[in-house]
Subunit: 242 residues, 2 copies
Amino acid sequence: MIRENDVSRNLHEQLSLMIANTESGQRLPSEPKLAAVLGVSRASLREAMRTFETRGLLQRKQGVGTFVIHPSNVFETGLETLSSLETIAEQLGLEVSLGDMEICRQVVDRDLAETLELPEGQDILTVSRVILSHDRPVAFLEDNLPVDVINESEVRTNFTGSVLDMLIRRDDIPLASSKCQISAIGATPEIASALDIQRHDPLLVFSSLLFSTRGRIIDSSFSYFLPGYFHFHIVRRVGGQI
Amino acid sequence: MIRENDVSRNLHEQLSLMIANTESGQRLPSEPKLAAVLGVSRASLREAMRTFETRGLLQRKQGVGTFVIHPSNVFETGLETLSSLETIAEQLGLEVSLGDMEICRQVVDRDLAETLELPEGQDILTVSRVILSHDRPVAFLEDNLPVDVINESEVRTNFTGSVLDMLIRRDDIPLASSKCQISAIGATPEIASALDIQRHDPLLVFSSLLFSTRGRIIDSSFSYFLPGYFHFHIVRRVGGQI
DNA sequence: GTCTGTCAATTGTCTGACAAGTGTTTTCCC
DNA sequence: GGGAAAACACTTGTCAGACAATTGACAGAC
């Protein structure tokens, strides 16, 4: 897991709290004052502020001050960080459960071998399952992992609904980030039956690749979401740089 | 427009180039060396590196070094920053053009008044148009703006296909960020006819709110994309903090 | 009334230093 | 000779203090 030093960690939390409690457009105290209040050096404070500036939550003007920008009142429930559906649901106070699940070891097809950067003929583990909310199917998830990353028996014993959470719990492969491609499709017959909807009903699709810190692709997943049950959003900064 | 100081700007570009030219998993030179090479102080360099760390492109380990993480070879064409379709298309070398367009001044309905935080009964300007790629309709865009932000005649004379680009060109309202909600729907009869597809065909939808730096909502837009013609992606960091 | 120079406040950048963590090499003891 | 401990080199993390660049407000001259 990602670990940080204490100063940086506390500083980040405190600053996050301070930003959350400041109205949009209001000015923060000046850097020297803020550094004194938070008990850190100005350099460390500035580095922490950079992270919020990068996310578009702060704007700094030389000679004037630093201002808070709230894209909305909801604070950071978007797609910027990768969390499992279960974790997101827990944070939002929603109830989700695991529906039908299928675990299947098979030889990769050519497309998947290419995306996973595996030699052809190698085995992968495919985990597909339905996510329920109040007993209604709302999502269909499929993960494809090389067998040397994870073995079948481990999944059968340790799986709680999320491949990501399982990998995080294991802690042996340092995960870095996920590249997620967003699209829409009409439901295929298989998915339509799994989600209890009509064929060709519109679905939101996330095609994701999960990368380790060494750049290896750990997981190729496809997530199909029923529109209306999830509110995914991202904050996009205006302007090219930073 | 967002403006930066020269040091920061050049530093950011050079660092970006250096990261792009470093293989995933490889180590960067140490901070003192890198600062010397780039001709800046270590403090400034560290601030710049923070922005890349925040985006998940760098990982720092105390006592070891700083490592580059490439989610993929494609560098930064995702949804993290807000650009017009025209700008994106230009960067990717695609050809897009403006199809049927409609500009309409009307009284806000209740829903839109709420999202735009306007008093009921006020006028807004609605700009809707079709985007073509090689003469094939690929997207349907609708922008809703308060009339005091933009007036009808200005749109009719200055519009080149993108409301965002027009607002950026004008430079009188400092834009901060956009909150974009992602979903999928089946095409309505109007959109189906505009895009020359069947009713209920799946479409990717972005519902966006554009915020000024003072927190005011400048634009509420709905973008409908034909699947397959656009490859939107985002990079999601694993782990909660930073 | 308008313009201009001054001044205080703020962020941007730099320098140098020390603390803390990591991996390697050397030394010392058995 | 072998293994453990210590020393070392190198890295990032943090700090203190200083000066530059920019901005906005205010007072004074015209």
